[in-house]
Symmetry: C2
Subunit: 218 residues, 2 copies
């Protein structure tokens, strides 16, 4: 197998890469790094990805690639069809902006290492940590909701009718919010687009709860 | 003037866009949005960028573009020379990964809205907030230090001898750490590369303390 993906069933950044691989029809093998057990800090994984985070991707003889959006850009450049970005620079910038509202504003505040820091350093209880996550999740979803309504581009997805990296990131954020059981009523366009995406097999198959690790965990 | 940049002298994400514009020799006019005074929440700015963050860029008749890395990709596509990304997909992925270790892992935890949340919701005092910032800043700088040593690519900068978006992000993180007066002794390669970059006029001119707003603030 040419492509190896190191991820975790519940990781939303891994979810993004899984969707991109599926949309492009790229065969890959996924290796689980259990973030809840701390397997990302094991020497064996540190040798794979010195940043000790997931996702990481190895294509052929390497080197290892990290950061979900960098990996998706790599897949876009090596497997251009179907494209996950529009053709014109302005449209590409809009799609990338939407993706980064999730991947560079909200999600970094919700990852396990940050939740662990809030718990271990500040002794915040679980409801207070959940409120933190919901606060930043809502900020991103609200920003995207405004983009998809007041600054809408025609189509049933974020930018037209074909999936882009904006849809991939939006779905990752909505799936995460639903795992945390957050109320999403204030974001009707966001949830409509996410549900449209999740009707597509490439998205549906990538869902955290469809991964082998989820079955073991439940 | 064709390009308008909305930013703030101290904003590290604005710094990134400023460096990219300078490196590419693109003329622009910068408009200050004072984040300390809350000008990003004014109706006049909300009409420019509904996400109410900086940087935002308007090229000609718009629409507004947001998110520093999305803006830099847009500049790369509309003004390809000099290139801020290498030519091959694998090399581009490495450079993007380094950039995103800063822009998507560390910096989102250090922005004013997060520091304000820690202060207002958790009543954390200034030294405790500084420790938070230093923790995440160090995590990113350590990850990059390892990449630049154990996984080094020959050259005096992050990836060869010409500036890339990885250098832009690395400099933004180092400049931020120095504004906070963090000890950077554990990251000798990172600081050497940052100082090499800061010898380049396009980087030096973009420095927060060289901006008009900094003069007024001091």
């Amino acid at each position: 197998m040419a492509i190896k993906l190191f991820g975790f069933w519940r990781s939303l950044a891994t979810l993004r890469v899984r969707i991109a691989l599926n949309l492009k029809g790229i065969a890959y093998e996924e290796f689980s790094v259990d973030l809840l057990k701390g397997e990302q800090f094991a020497d064996s994984y540190r040798a794979v990805n010195p940043q000790m985070v997931v996702p990481a991707l190895i294509d052929g003889d390497g080197p290892v690639l990290g950061q979900s959006l960098a990996i998706i850009d790599y897949l876009e450049e090596t497997h251009p069809e179907p494209a996950l970005l529009p053709a014109s620079p302005r449209e590409r910038a809009r799609v990338r902006m939407l993706a980064q509202i999730v991947a560079a504003d909200a999600h970094p505040l919700m990852v396990p290492r940050v939740r662990n820091y809030l718990e271990n350093e500040y002794r915040l209880d679980e409801p207070t940590r959940a409120k933190w996550i919901q606060h930043w999740s809502n900020a991103a979803l609200k920003a995207i909701e405004i983009q998809l309504t007041d600054y809408a581009v025609p189509g049933r997805l974020c930018h037209g009718d074909t999936p882009t990296v904006a849809d991939i990131c939006l779905v990752s954020q909505v799936v995460g919010a639903r795992i945390f059981k957050f109320d999403l009523a204030a974001f009707p366009t966001v949830t409509r687009v996410a549900d449209e995406c999740l009707k597509i097999d490439a998205f549906a198959r990538a869902h955290p709860l469809k991964q082998p690790g989820a079955q073991t965990a439940h």
